[in-house]
């Protein structure tokens, strides 16, 4: 038999084993597709939620970890609520995002991944609370560096100005919580 060099055909079951554990219990899936039927984000997905579960159980790690689906899922919890087998599909998708980053895989939706990272870094920078204005500014710069879109920039500046006029932009950051030692310990979990 010729040796395959196509990684997508070589199953790896570490992922499948992980997902079968605990409350994720993905192995109970019988592919009824109820999760995908109720999902409001399918129009933006490359794999449907039930396909992510299926492929994960088949050990097709590469396919699921590099998918857009895991990032464009909005975590609305409709699938998890409705699954007849009690599978936490939204939880599986979260788990896959974290795993993709851990493995250093080039993710399909870098904007989304970066926003999450910036958000956490902003909690850290704020000593435990998010300063929204600073976060938005930083993320806007990131997006501009990737793709300079003058119209989007104009829109954003206009929106920022409208919020500012209404006193809805706190420019000097958030009030940091004072329980410094304790909160610092937690914020150590954020690796920037």
């Amino acid at each position: 038999m010729p040796k395959t060099t196509d990684n997508t055909l070589r199953p790896s079951f570490t992922l499948a084993e992980k997902l079968a554990q605990g409350n994720l219990s993905a192995s109970a899936c019988y592919q009824c597709k109820k999760c995908s039927s109720g999902c409001p984000l399918t129009f933006a997905m490359d794999l449907l939620p039930h396909q992510v579960i299926h492929l994960s159980l088949l050990g097709q790690e590469e396919k699921v970890l590099t998918s857009s689906t895991i990032w464009v899922c909005s975590a609305c919890e409709t699938c998890t609520t409705r699954c007849p087998n009690g599978i936490d599909i939204a939880g599986v998708l979260d788990w896959l995002k974290e795993e993709a980053l851990k493995r250093g895989i080039s993710v399909a939706q870098p904007e989304v991944a970066t926003f999450h990272r910036y958000f956490l870094e902003s909690i850290k920078a704020g000593g435990g609370r998010v300063a929204e204005a600073t976060l938005v500014r930083r993320f806007t710069l990131f997006k501009l560096r990737r793709k300079f879109d003058i119209n989007e920039l104009k829109e954003n500046m206009k929106l920022g100005w409208q919020l500012m006029k209404r006193g809805r932009m706190r420019l000097l950051g958030s009030h940091a919580p004072k329980g410094q030692a304790e909160i610092k310990e937690i914020l150590k979990l954020i690796k920037s």
Binding site: F43, C76, T81, K97, F115, F119, E132, R168
Partner: protein
């Protein structure tokens, strides 16, 4: 009467972009003899970002808030769908009989509420019905609950998670006309608002269309993320889809203030992007 005291978890947005929501909450609670006391020294719950890419942090952040709330000894209310949800996630994890991953000792004697649920308890609805001075006659609204305040029910402990009714009950008490529609717990995708605005446009425009089809003149919301997503995007979406949408997005707390005659309602409403005044003037409510 001495006011009833309750612990309050405002969350980051309420000291940033959602100052209108914060002010309306601070404005109406005294009218209901309710005193809110912030969780001492609270921190951010980590929101979508934490549960997406750092599950340890996603638990540790709300758990810290919950432990402090336990010390304060009273039930906790959260005005944000996601803050509520994350507190409930932490509660479930800390109450796990097999031990919790953080090794914290949580007895679970306090209850976690989302603000809308708290203020629409039967007793408050009765108080409200007695205090209404300006019934919101003729105001046709759809209630928009957002998603994670109800789901998943194993976490939120909600019974009517597919079709909640408390916003409609409240609107009826205030004299408005709540309309039925089937999108009240659909997702608006707020977590992607900055990273994938194109997705938001699709989801949110769908909500505008459904609300209009139901005959609504405005949305009523109980979460600042939902508010921002429906309100801040309306001009952009109108342009993109070539149709002028004009659907004010009101907080339920603002409507309570309006019906109870709170003097600062106009100041709160002035912070919105879609100006609610023309509609309210037309109805003779302001």
């Amino acid at each position: 009467m001495t006011p009833m005291k309750i612990t309050y978890y405002p969350g980051c947005s309420l000291e940033n972009t959602a100052v209108d929501y914060a002010a309306s909450i601070a404005g109406i609670t005294p009218l209901l003899d309710l005193e809110l006391e912030e969780i001492t020294d609270w921190n951010c719950c980590g929101a979508t970002a934490a549960h997406s890419i750092n599950h340890e942090l996603a638990l540790a952040l709300p758990a810290r808030n919950l432990m402090t709330a336990q010390k304060m000894g009273r039930d906790v209310v959260a005005p944000c769908a996601l803050c509520f949800n994350r507190l409930k996630v932490a509660e479930k994890a800390l109450k796990n009989p097999e031990g919790n991953p953080l090794g914290l000792s949580y007895q679970g004697a306090i209850k976690i509420w989302d603000l809308l649920d708290y203020l629409t308890q039967e007793t408050y609805l009765q108080v409200l019905s007695q205090k209404v001075v300006k019934p919101l006659k003729g105001l046709k609204a759809v209630g928009y609950y957002g998603c994670v305040v109800a789901r998943p029910p194993d976490i939120t402990d909600k019974k009517d998670y597919e079709n909640p009714q408390n916003m409609e009950r409240l609107l009826t008490v205030l004299g408005a006309t709540p309309l039925d529609w089937s999108y009240k717990t659909d997702c608006c995708g707020a977590g992607l608002a900055l990273s994938r605005p194109d997705i938001i446009d699709t989801l949110t425009q769908r909500l505008y269309e459904r609300a209009l089809a139901a005959g609504a003149e405005c949305f009523v919301v109980s979460c600042q993320m939902c508010q921002a997503n429906l309100d801040l995007t309306q001009e952009r979406i109108s342009k993109k889809f070539g149709k002028h949408y004009d659907l004010p997005v009101l907080y339920f707390t603002e409507l309570i203030g309006l019906a109870l005659g709170h003097p600062q309602v106009k100041e709160w409403l002035a912070k919105h992007l879609v100006n609610p005044l023309p509609l309210l003037q037309k109805k003779g409510l302001i």
